[in-house]
């Protein structure tokens, strides 16, 4: 790895940490200003998530869907297409999986059932994400608008399926029939009560990382995203790569929705968009589209979320302020100029040092040469 790249990576890391730090400080200041008992609230916000085994478990539990949608957005981000349908897919695949599970009933053994449901979730994701991806590739219809409109449609579609196809009339609130026992993902690690979707998430992260960095397709994808003209000149199938990357992302979002429903719910009862998609976007931005960093970013977001949850229940401070913080983080991380001068300075300094070192070597070589010449004579 050359020096410039090393500096770029270091600065990038510092930048992200500073951005998160600034946002976190803003969160703390906000809490301080609006709360009646600021010290207690801030303590709850910072330490609350670690105060019980159960809460640590719920951080990890929350990070699992973030990881899936984060990976989904890594693909979108890698090919530079802001296909936001992951948001709707997460909800709709959860809905479809519940519907299939209820209709299949308890007949099948757990592993086969799980496999079928995961495939259902993934296929749902692929089919849905294909709509904006295809419309963009074929007709150049603005992908952000199409995918966002699609999200709204999916919300209504999910509610319709819930209301007319699988609503359980015996419960008061809106909810489907309960999931059959052989479809429910068990909780693991005893007291932590982490859903078994964790293992699927870990497998997904590794698989995506291999795809990104060890396979030809991943390389093609990154080239297409970072330098489309070069990719075209190399003869990479642009449209195919872009669409395929989005389809994989859609499948991941679908699996995420599946795990969430099977792991954390006993029945489908979402009647509004879950926002996991947009959280995934933030995770992908934070992770700088590197799939290996996605779990880290997901855990960080989950920690802040659980902190906000604790504060919300204890101090009556609305959890919504976290989305403002999220927006600030995305802005700061996305801002090229934020600490850009610092980066330039570092690279310049390194380059100057490198030049000086090169010169020194040259001089020494010359000296050595002249010495040798002297000896020969």
């Amino acid at each position: 790895m050359n020096k410039t790249r090393k500096i770029e990576m270091t600065v990038e890391l510092i930048r992200i940490l500073v951005a998160v730090g600034i946002a976190y400080v803003i969160a703390l200041v906000t809490l301080f200003l609006i709360s009646d008992d600021p010290v207690y609230i801030i303590q709850q916000f910072v330490l609350g998530p670690f105060s019980s085994v159960r809460r640590v478990g719920s951080i990890i539990n929350l990070a699992i869907p973030f990881t899936f949608t984060g990976l989904c957005f890594c693909f979108m981000y890698a090919v530079n297409k802001f296909n936001l349908a992951g948001e709707g897919i997460f909800m709709f695949s959860g809905c479809m999986v519940t519907w299939v599970a209820i209709n299949l009933g308890e007949g099948l053994p757990f592993p086969i059932m799980l496999l079928i449901l995961l495939i259902v979730g993934a296929v749902t994701g692929i089919v849905i994400i294909a709509i904006p991806a295809f419309l963009d590739a074929k007709f150049k219809a603005n992908i952000v608008v199409v995918s966002l409109m699609l999200n709204s449609i999916l919300v209504f579609l999910s509610i319709w399926v819930l209301k007319y196809q699988m609503r359980d009339p015996s419960i008061g609130s809106m909810g489907s029939y309960p999931l059959p026992d052989n479809a429910v993902l068990p909780n693991v690690f005893g007291k932590f009560r982490i859903q078994a979707g964790l293992f699927i998430a870990v497998i997904a992260v590794i698989a995506v990382a291999v795809l990104f960095y060890k396979m030809v397709f991943g390389y093609k994808m990154r080239v297409v995203g970072s330098n489309p003209l070069f990719a075209k000149a190399c003869g990479i199938n642009m449209m195919g790569t872009i669409v395929a990357a989005q389809l994989i992302g859609g499948a991941l979002a679908g699996i995420g929705g599946t795990c969430e429903i099977l792991g954390n719910y006993d029945r489908f009862k979402w009647v509004a968009s879950t926002q996991h998609g947009f959280d995934g976007l933030m995770v992908a931005v934070l992770a700088r589209r590197n799939p290996l960093l996605v779990p880290v970013a997901a855990l960080l977001l989950a920690y802040i979320r659980i902190g906000a949850d604790v504060v919300n229940s204890k101090g009556d401070i609305p959890i919504e302020f976290i989305t403002v913080i999220q927006g600030i983080v995305i802005l700061l991380v996305a801002a090229e100029e934020f600490m850009g001068r610092f980066k330039k300075k570092m690279i310049y300094k390194a380059a100057a040092e490198g030049l000086a070192a090169d010169k020194k070597e040259e001089v020494e070589e010359l000296m050595a040469d002249t010495k040798d010449e002297g000896k020969e004579q």
Partner: protein
Amino acid sequence: MFTLDWFANFGFSTLRLSTPLIFAALAAVINRKAGMLNMALEGMMLSAALGGVVFAGATGNVWIGLLGAVVVSVIVGWIIAFANLSGQTDLYLTCIAVNLAATGGTVFAMFLITGEKATTSAAIKAYVLPSITIPLINKIPLIGPMISGHNVLTYFAFISVFLVWFFLYKTRLGLRMRAVGENPKAASSVGINVKKIGYISFLYAGVLCGFGGAFMSMGWVSFFMKNMVNGRGYIGLSAMNIAEGNPVGSAIAAVFFGFSDALATTLKSQGGNFPTEFLDMIPYAATIIALVVISSIRMSHLKKIQRGGK
């Protein structure tokens, strides 16, 4: 069912529901002409809607409320412009971040001000911008009840179409803005301050979104509600997209989307066995379909030109 009254009502509701879409579309037009795709219309309108209610409630004056809505929206626009033009962020990402922050931020601000998390209807006194009855025209059957009696902002939306057109095509600043949008480097080479033009475009877009947001919370209904803009910013954006940034065409597209919105609302209020979920989808589905149809027509046109060239 299909009486004269029904048609009059339907036309009235189409114009009413078109109002925020027209404002959003015009804001998108101004940004588009300056070379930027503003996807944060949604967030700008949402913040403006809350700002309007709060300012009106605090001062007891609707017009100050309207001004407050505009100011809030301009501030949000300025944040985007600052991040994008001075901070070199990706515009798509900035807009998504701003929308995200606005969705939660409005609820947060509403909670701080009123202690409520769903609507301000209970805590803040309702103020509505006045409606105008046009003399003489309101006597004409069918057209009268359709056109007369709208909120003042609805009329202003249609006037704004002309204003934006005039600004873009008949003023010096408009010409410069279009030059920047066509080719920023060329514009910069003849001494136009590209960054400044970008800021100005966001300022004007902010004003328009401010009116749109104010209409939502002080015309359409009389309170602020969580996520009340409900995708209208994006629909306005696609209206602009369909007309390729032409103000008049964008407004026509916006009215078409207002029509589909009104269709959904009217059909829903008439009841029947048809599930309302599918009626709710109409405006969104219409947006996608219109976008695809127009884009495909444009693509085939482009292909024809290319073939002709060879």
